[in-house]
Every structure is written in structure tokens, then in C-alpha cells.
Symmetry: none
Subunit: 217 residues, 4 copies
Amino acid sequence: MLPINLEEFFSEEKLQEMNEKEIKILEAAIEIFAEKGFFSTSTNEIAKKANVAEGTIFRYFKTKKDLLKSIIKPTLVKTIAPFEMDRFSKAVFHLEHETFEDFLYALIKNRMDFAKKNKEVVKIIIQEIPFQEEMQEELKRLFKDKMYPKVATVLQSFIDKGQIKELPIPTVLRLIISTVIGLVISSVVLENTPFWNEDQETKRTIEYIKAGLESGE
Amino acid sequence: MLPINLEEFFSEEKLQEMNEKEIKILEAAIEIFAEKGFFSTSTNEIAKKANVAEGTIFRYFKTKKDLLKSIIKPTLVKTIAPFEMDRFSKAVFHLEHETFEDFLYALIKNRMDFAKKNKEVVKIIIQEIPFQEEMQEELKRLFKDKMYPKVATVLQSFIDKGQIKELPIPTVLRLIISTVIGLVISSVVLENTPFWNEDQETKRTIEYIKAGLESGE
Amino acid sequence: MLPINLEEFFSEEKLQEMNEKEIKILEAAIEIFAEKGFFSTSTNEIAKKANVAEGTIFRYFKTKKDLLKSIIKPTLVKTIAPFEMDRFSKAVFHLEHETFEDFLYALIKNRMDFAKKNKEVVKIIIQEIPFQEEMQEELKRLFKDKMYPKVATVLQSFIDKGQIKELPIPTVLRLIISTVIGLVISSVVLENTPFWNEDQETKRTIEYIKAGLESGE
Amino acid sequence: MLPINLEEFFSEEKLQEMNEKEIKILEAAIEIFAEKGFFSTSTNEIAKKANVAEGTIFRYFKTKKDLLKSIIKPTLVKTIAPFEMDRFSKAVFHLEHETFEDFLYALIKNRMDFAKKNKEVVKIIIQEIPFQEEMQEELKRLFKDKMYPKVATVLQSFIDKGQIKELPIPTVLRLIISTVIGLVISSVVLENTPFWNEDQETKRTIEYIKAGLESGE
DNA sequence: TATGAATGAGACTTCATTCAT
DNA sequence: TATGAATGAAGTCTCATTCAT
């Protein structure tokens, strides 16, 4: 099985060296940024919601943009990080006994939980990434160094075992990722509406990817 | 075959009743909004790039937000509109002679061309839609009234003909759309890099969707 | 009897050498200035109401302030002017046969008609005079040169005839003017309300002034 | 005797909970508004005269119009308020021992002091009231609820005692108010000129009102 | 003569950031 | 450490006025 909820490790570590006020500011900022966007949110508003003085924000975060980065970066790391965790590595070693379907299921479950828990930050990231070159670089680096090598190994093993078609890894990855992101977004947007049966849609999505990629013999 | 490049009809109509300065302002605004985002762009900057006085912007667009809307709305309409064009309707009537693959190919080709031509506006839309309720409503309305009914008919016909699996139309649509969007984004981002062979990736994507949805006999 | 409606003489004279558009602009400006005030009225608004182009305003009136002056000045002149008209002079010569009451009645009737006819311009004048030094000078000059000497003569004659108390002319004038202005304002404000019986109030006001000024023997 | 200088009570209360900068801004605004009018005064100008940054104005007054209201409203209240003060009430109860002349004298003295002390604000009020509906309503309300009932009682008592003529109260009020206002304006305008002997003019005005209203038997 | 598009100065206002307390 | 009053740069927008047509 793939690791789940590893993300919290980071937080706890960090949280302990973080002041109570700092946390309250971050929480307030996340909430309002997600609701109104970075530029439409004033530091005054954040201060009020966090119950601190406006000046206090600048004790902990040099600038407003710094505050934004402090929100985005850990989430970015956590989005990518699971792929290099120990338990994931273990999963990799046990791969011979796992099917592609198990892999997909674990991946989807994990990312979906993550997306739901981090809905707000994800919304902030989507809005801001296109204009934050620094963050873009970070994202690329994380993807290239941390995520891609691991995932490539896993996918290659499924190709080797004949469970999926012989396609270039980047292509396989693109197809999986876009399908999964589509599912995750639908899930977050439609959550708690009568139109959405999550288990069913997850199952259908796994079927779709599997059928789409399996070596048709 | 599906209609291609119908979008331009709209522009030409509009362009003729539009003043030269108005066009220059729109062009400048699109370029800078896409580069730096709506809020990081000052009207002063737009005026300079458009070679007009700042006040002139407000002769044509009541407010800065109005300028944003004037950029987003036509593109939003054009994104959805093709689906209700005459030729599309004709295609629907000839469906007996078309395969699901033809349909996918036409859809992808059409949307890819559109995305490339409107790269910048699309970037602006993605950034702003989450915070512009008015635009969200417009988008929902267009989708529900204009696009969904037509597409649903086409997809249902493929299901009836046994070309694709018996799945709920919304599910089929979600899977196709997320896969196509993944392709389109990759195409726009990687265009002109050695990593990208568009025809090949298009073909692979079509194969993936087809295999993923076809009724396994 | 005092002269009534002499004011129109000026207009007719002027009106004939005035262009139709110029008149329409003046009319529009008077209406909007009175409603919203000089500064809250834009030339664009005036142009629209007058059915002319904005530029046309500046053909006839060098500046917006010039337009204001063109409205105020003739009314100012007309407010003062009657006192130096021929017929008034004649009235003066016939004074021996007139009572103070006749004089008051004529004065009040005349000024009341004038105020009602020029309600809007009077409102503009009241608002603007305190800040238009140039106009203040004009007003002072007119009062001092044109109005005061004539009125002083009349009042003196009533004093001489023992019809009113031996008070300094300026004091008498102040008392009469403030009482009459109070009547006129009430009349304009309350006109057409059930609270206002104009003839009765006029009569009472005349009684009040008469009693207040008459030499109590 | 009527209460005098009660107005200051209000100020002192307020002033203590008011910041030094806030007071400086108000003072500067009053001075410039009175001199040049509301619209001809820029916030930049006020800031300079008050020796604060332009932004500081908006910490204390949400908008420029808000600043105007903050100037006008207390004065409006103070103009009307004395009539409902305790000491005034006491005066009413002692009326049997007071003459109409005493009443007039107290009224005039009180209002004249007030006008002189608030010259500037009164000028601002006169200019702005015609265009500030909100203020008009406030003024009407204050007059109707606070001032009129008290004054009506007093005047009625003088009528009952036979000291003044049997006229409708509103008429009596109009005649007194317009005469007093005329005196007050003259006093403010001519103050410190050789043409003006205040005590004498006050005495004459009281005589005029008394004679004008007294039941002539 | 009349137009109205274009201008650009200047108005009001917001807000991230600083700093004395 | 925490505050929040004060700042002033920068932003959006208005509008009287000009001028080519």
C-alpha cells in the first residue's frame, strides 16, 4: 500500500517551532486568500481574522508576498514529497506482488485525501503559480528530482511486467495525471452534491486508465 | 468533420464596430494581464503599452474590471460556441458514417488550435475565474445550455452504436475532457521543445481515450 | 405702484443676440446646477441635457466657471436693477400720495414673483456667492451704486413724512430685507403645500414690518 | 435667563476621546472648506495644513464626504440642542416672571455668540445643506422634534399672557427667526467695522420684533 | 459652426510597511 | 515580543478642455 497522510509529518515538525500567533496568521491568510485571492486580501483583514495587530504579521513574514510563499511552499513540497518517503520505497520493493490497479487505487486515494484536506491552499497555488516564477522553478525541481524518478521506476516495472502498454513514461504519466486531476477536481467541486458518488467514480476512473493503458493482447 | 476556426467569425464582426484605440487597449491588456496577472497590472502600464492616454482606457471600458470582462467573455463564448454551430449539427446528422475516433480527432484538433491561438486569454481566464462569480455563472450557463446538450447527444449516439461503454454521459464527458485538457496544456507548454511530438502525442491520446472507453467485447 | 416684471427686458434683448444652442446650454446648466450643485455637475451631463456636443459648450463659454458666471450675473443684475428703472423713479415722484404700506406691498409682490420665476438661479447664487469673490464685488457694487441710493431716498421720505420711526436707513433696510427674505424663502419652499396661505402670510408680514417700524405716537 | 454657551459641553466630551491628529484634520478642513468650499478643497491640501500625511485623513474619516459630515453634524446638533437643555426648561417654568423682551434678548445673545464662534462651520453648512439630503432630513428632524415643541410652548405662553399678538405660532416663529438671522448675519459680516454697533443694533432689533408682534391695545 | 475622441492633470482612496511605544 | 498609528507611494478613475475633422 502506498503511504497516506505523510504530509502531516512536516507540519508537526514545523508547528512545534512555530509560535501560536504565527499559526493563527497562516490560518487566517489561507482562508482569506482562498476566498478572495491574494491581491484582494489586505494585511489588515488578515490581522483582524487572526486576532493580531497588523504589525505582528511583519514580525513573522517579512512581506505579504513572503506570507504567500510560506503558505504555498510546504504544500508544494507535501504534494510531491510522498513519492520519496520510506514507506513508498517499501511499496516499490513489494511491487512484484502489486498490480497496476493497486497502484492506481493507492495513488488516487492518497491524492484525493490530500486535495480535500488542502482545498484552500491548492486553490491559492493554482491562482498564483502562473505568476510566481520562483515557485515555478521550485515546482519543476521537486518534480524532476523527487517525484519523476520514483514514479518512472514504478511505471517502468509495470511495463516490464506487461501490465501496461509500451509507451514512453512521460506520455503514460501525462495521461494518468490528467485523468486523476480531472477526478480530483470533480471530487472537490462536487463533494456533497447528489450528483457525485465518489466510490463509483473512482472505480470507473481506475477502469478507464487501466483499459486505456493496458497492453491489449 | 467538426467545424474548425469558427471562432473568428465573432471577432471579425466585433472588430469592425471596434475602434482602433479600443483594439490596441485590449491587445495591450491581454498581453500584460497574461504576463503579470490582473492585479499586478496597472492601467498606466496598459495605457503606455497601448500608446494611449490613461483616460482613454476609461472611455472604452468603464472600469479596469470591465476591461477584464471584455477580454474574458468573448473567449468564454467562443470556447463553448462551436458546439452549437450549424456545421456541428450537420456532423451530428452524419454520425452514422463517423466513428468515435473521427469525433475525438476533430474535437482535439479544434480545441488545440483554439488554445494555441488564445493562450494568453486562457491563462487570464484560469487565473480569474475562481474569483469572478459573475464569470462563473456565465460559464456554467454556457456549458449547461449550449455545450452539454449537443455533446450529450453525440456521445449517446456512440453508446447506442456500441462504440463506447455504457457509462453515464457526465462520467464519459469528465474522462474525455480531463484527458484532452491534459493534452492541450502539455501542447501549449511544451510547444516548440524537442520533448514534444504533437502528432504522435495526439494519436496516443486518442488511442488512450478510445481504449479507455470502448465497450470491451 | 412699483414696476413689475421689468426683468424680462434684459433677457429679450440678450436672447435675440443669443444662439439657440447657447440658450439650450444655459437652460440645461441652470437646471442641473440647481439640482446637484456646480461641482457635482459635469460638462458632459450639461451637453447631454442640452442636446449638443460637449465641445459646443466651450464655443459659447470659455470655461465651465464662465458658464456659471453667465448664469449668475444677469440674475444678479435683474435682482437689483428694478430699483433704478424709470417707472420706479416715477413711483418715487408720486410718493407723496403713497403710503409705506403700498410701498411694502409692491416691493414684496415684485420680489416674490421674481424669486419664484428664478428659483433655480437663486439657489445657485446662494450656493456660489460665498466663494466667488468676483461676484461678491459685483453684488456689492450693484447694491451700493444702484439700489441703495434709490431705496434710501424712498425710505427717508417715509421717515420725513412720519410714517416710520427715526432710525438709521441701513438699520431700517436690514430689518425690512431680512423679514422680506424670510417671507420669500418660506413662500418658495412651502409653495403648494397646505401649510401656506400666501396672501394671508403676506398681509401678516406687512403688518409686522409696519408695526415694527412705525413711529409710535 | 436662557442658557448660554451650553454648546461647549458637547465639544469637551468629544474632544477628549478624539486624537490630536483627528482634531488637527478637522480644524484644517473647517478652515479650508469655509474659505474655498467643499469641492474646491483637496484632501491633499487639508493634509498639508493639518501637518499629517494624506492617508491619515482616511484613518479617521472614511471618505472626504465623511469628513464633511463630521464637521456639519455636531454643529447642526448644537444649533438646535440648547432648546432642549435643562436650564432652558427651567427658564420655561419661570416664564411667568419673564417678559417677552427678556426671552428675545436671551435668544439673540445666545445665537449671536454661537454664530460668531462657529462662523466657518455655519458658512459650510449653508453651502452644503441644499445638496445633502441626508443632512436636510437630520435638520428637519431636529427642528421638528427638539426645537419646535419647546419654542412653541414659550411663544404660546406669551400669547396667553397677552404680551404678543394672536397669530399662528409658525408665523410668529418665521417673523422672529428671519429678523434674528438677519441680525446675526449682519453682525458676523460687519463685525469689527466702524459701521456696526452691535449693542445698539441688537436693541433696535428687539424693539422692532416687540413692536411688530405686540398686541396693540 | 459643431463635433466628440482624446487627453492628462489631479482627485480620492487603499494598503503594505515602518517604528515609537 | 506585540502593537497599531502613521505614512506616502501608487493605484483607479473623473472631467474640463483641446483640436482635428
